[in-house]
Subunit: 139 residues, 4 copies
């Protein structure tokens, strides 16, 4: 399995296709079937008390798995999320980015499944866990 | 079972506690263990092609169940989402709000569970389904 | 939307194709996109203390949605579950069957989604909630 | 973090408390916050065509996370599953046991969360993924 898109291409693709959310994210690491994606936490991602909101973490997980799929199949795909589950396990550390470590568990012809552990940057225990299924349109 | 908070109180609570997201939402209907919550769709909720983004629908479901819980237990609670699952089933209609119809299935001492069907306003078939668990802190 | 299989045909299909689990279940009601399926609780479904086990309820939900799909598409399909989520909310009543009330929320060309509320027979509050996605093979 | 129960104690506990399902399972490996649990596949776990049924895999995941929790908190706990999500990704290999590799992601005072990858014995690609939440009663 080899990558069809590298970090720079994925970053450009996000900026062009999803300009509203692209500035929120940075790719820390990319490998076949794996990606580490960073949520650059800003005020708009926070809840009272300074913790990162649940929907911001859902968005991070969704984007991480999407990019991991795109990196493998190339930019032609119009993959859509069909299902997601998420567990919020710990309060994120205040003032820190959230880093998602994502792996694709399945990359089939029509469905892809990935899972993600999310960490406050530099902290050992995960703050959340998510898994998502993407439907890949016929090519 | 009776409501401890009415629509006006919930709306004020959201505006005070969650000023960043409160303008996104409007309560269409409130009853014991039930709420209809509207996502007032704006450009920031959209993906290319004009459909409402998955994270915006997750946020709507999360907020609906949270408000349904608060309406029953009152504003003293600091309930947090511990788990959510969501199925995206159809492409939302362009240019329409999303309305979440939420019911609480369980309101226990420590855990509450709710589920939600989400519709493009005025359209019969649901665009998404979600269920979430909230942890209710000791009172 | 009309039914392609009636109760008797579904029951025969289960007995022929899934003889190991068919005796566990009875169809209480069938309508387009809806089914009520009963788990006839026996000793093998119980946990210590006399409550119905989680996997038995998962199996009931899985079977209910599967039969609801088959009733609509006919017996030719070899649908497989791709995803499920389940919330266990209350302890089932001792000595009672579990009844699943299932509706299909989506019946697409390749994916079907259903959800289920499960009740101890005759009791108002649901014991569990589940949703599942089925992949429908090309016809 | 140290184990409060070893393999022999967990095995005895299962045989005493869950005699109906205990013979289905064997502990391959146990470490703090981790367990590998084997489903010893028999005819009763199979679907037509010889694949392991979805509910059998749900049961394996549920049991693996339960035992991983018990190993850490000791046999006094009456933990119950509150929530589970499962993705079925590949057809299990015929005639092989299923091995669940489980890790606890959170072991809190009231909630524990674990996830599991399941493999046909000796095969590299996982057949299923699951995550579950357990509620731990006050001690």
């Amino acid at each position: 399995m080899t990558l069809k898109m590298e970090v720079a291409e994925l970053t450009d693709f996000m900026a062009a296709e999803f300009p509203q959310v692209a500035p929120d994210f940075a790719i820390d690491r990319l490998a076949p079937m794996e990606i580490d994606l960073r949520l650059k936490v800003e005020g708009r991602h926070l809840r009272p008390g300074g913790t990162v909101s649940g929907p911001s973490m859902f968005s991070l997980a969704d984007c991480a798995i999407y990019l991991a799929v795109l990196a493998m199949i190339g930019p032609q795909g119009l993959a859509v999320t069909t299902n997601g589950s998420i567990d919020f396990m710990r309060k994120p550390a205040s003032g820190k980015d959230i880093v998602a470590r994502c792996r694709l568990l399945k990359l089939g012809r029509v469905l892809a499944v990935g899972d993600v552990l999310m960490y406050s940057d530099g902290v050992d225990q995960p703050v959340a866990r998510a898994s998502m299924t993407y439907s890949i349109p016929p090519r």
